[in-house]
């Protein structure tokens, strides 16, 4: 019995130790210091909720929350529609489907920072050139206004994650029994009916996963934001993660930044838990 316990702890402790030191200890440590005037090294006074009250009155912070939520909504809708569309397309038993899958997924292997730099060139020079060629003035001056900065980030994000979400939908679409689709076909269902009435309900669990993934990705986005717009022009495209980073490492207001980080955690956790709960409930009812 003793021996069994010792070997249990030997197996579990290294990973548990790393998780505790890297995630849980800093989490609670930071939580405590977010109520003080901590400067990264020491804290002298306990401030209570002062940092939190200041955060909710901080227009930059509020703007970044608003921007992040707008970005998340636009991304979730577009990524999922496109991801599902691509999945349906590459599961049509066409010869090139494997090659298509490879291409659509490719952006996900490359880091957000590098993709952001590539797209900076595409938006500034590529869009401009196409705009001049086809005489479309709205393609000019991208990333120089808040609107084009916003849509630039959305386009980059959709281009990158649609292929990722596609992979998830594919694995569900392929688990739909072939006989079911054939039976519907014999009964005279057309391609749209076969999709919406037969496949779609069976693919529902994929939505739980995909919505959750796109939402948490959108909330935590940093690298793409840094490389594509760096929050510009004039801080108008600063997302939550970047705002927290700048508060801490540009303005050195550590305790204040940590209070924003705690609010960020609550936002991400609440959204994630709600979504899992709602989707699980819906699946059961179905």
């Amino acid at each position: 019995m003793r021996n069994k316990e010792i070997s249990f702890w030997l197996f579990v402790l290294p990973a548990l130790f790393a998780l505790t030191v890297v995630v849980f200890f800093p989490f609670f440590y930071g939580f405590y210091y977010s109520f003080t005037d901590w400067n990264g090294l020491t804290a002298t006074t306990f401030l209570g909720l002062e940092n939190y009250i200041a955060a909710f009155q901080d227009s930059r912070f509020k703007d970044s929350i608003e921007f992040t939520i707008k970005f998340a909504i636009a991304s979730i809708i577009l990524v999922n529609i496109l991801g599902l569309g691509l999945a349906v397309l590459v599961t049509q038993k066409i010869k090139i489907s494997n090659g298509l899958r490879t291409i659509f997924f490719m952006p996900n292997l490359i880091g957000g920072l590098i993709l952001g730099f590539i797209w900076q060139f595409i938006f500034i020079s590529g869009f401009d050139a196409v705009g001049r060629l086809l005489n479309l003035p709205f393609l000019q001056g991208w990333l120089s206004t808040p609107e084009t900065g916003f849509w630039g980030l959305v386009i980059l994000n959709v281009w990158q994650y649609a292929g990722y979400i596609m992979v998830i939908y594919i694995s569900y679409l392929q688990s739909v029994p072939e006989e079911l689709v054939e039976a519907a076909e014999i009964d005279g269902a057309n391609i749209f009916q076969r999709f919406w009435r037969v496949k779609f309900p069976l693919v529902a669990p994929a939505f739980t996963i995909s919505l959750f993934l796109t939402l948490s990705n959108a909330f935590k986005l940093y690298d793409q934001n840094l490389a594509l717009t760096n929050g510009g022009p004039f801080g108008s495209t600063e997302m939550l993660a970047m705002e927290i980073y700048k508060t801490a490492f540009f303005r050195y207001e550590m305790a204040y930044a940590q209070s924003k980080a705690v609010i960020f955690f609550i936002l991400v956790a609440v959204v994630a838990l709600t979504q899992v709960y709602v989707n699980k409930k819906r699946e059961v009812e179905l």
Partner: protein, 273 residues
Amino acid sequence: MFKQKHRSKFLFSLVGILLALLWLSPFYLMLVNAFKSNFEIFNSVLAFPETFMFDNFKQAFIDLDFINALTNSLIISVGSILLIIVFSSMAAYALSRNKSRLSGVIFLVFVAAMLIPFQSVMIPLISIFGRIDMLNTYGLLFMYLGFGSSLSIFLYHGAVKGIPVSLDEAAMIDGASRWTIFWKIIFPMLKPITITVMILNVIWIWNDYLLPSLVLSQEYATIPLRMFYFFGQYTKQWHLALAGLTIAIIPVIVIYFFAQRHIIKGVADGAVK
């Protein structure tokens, strides 16, 4: 009906090809412009280069300190993934086989950690590791073990459940220790999930920018970090910036070309479970 099926397949292929070209167009523009002079980029972005300026790549390669950056990236990715695989699989095995309440709680703790975004612990983490003088490669490997263990243990846990306990018991009767049972019998059977764990963690760690930017000094910079310094240096010189980006992407594309089936399958398995 047959004819109609044929036509819809043709249509699907056509749409697929057009979309694929659209998807690849950013890479195309990056590549053709990486061969141009800055002047030529200014005048014609979309055209094929008039003359191929291989010097762009030469200079970008040197300024990126690419060999050094690649070595640093390899050390960090390989090192942290080995740590994650060894310690996550061991922990998942013990947590899955031990049915006590405590074991269940520890597993829940690992899963719950997935809810905590990196930015919520970033500031105290850097402060703590700075104090114990661990803002270096070793510290970074340890951090990756901490951040990577949750998802990896979750994936391994599910896979261990699928291996019958009778296998452990039979080996136990033969006098094998837990350590031997795990490494000789269980771990080899976990190979498919090990590949998934490896792929998911490589994609994340190889491309990670934020964490290493806070931990590593310039001489130990990984490829994304080096790319960031390099890009800042060449803001108005797209020909060099694009050549640098192309160089940074090449290792990834080469590996993807050979292992794309495994990679896509790994990502799907990791996300769906």
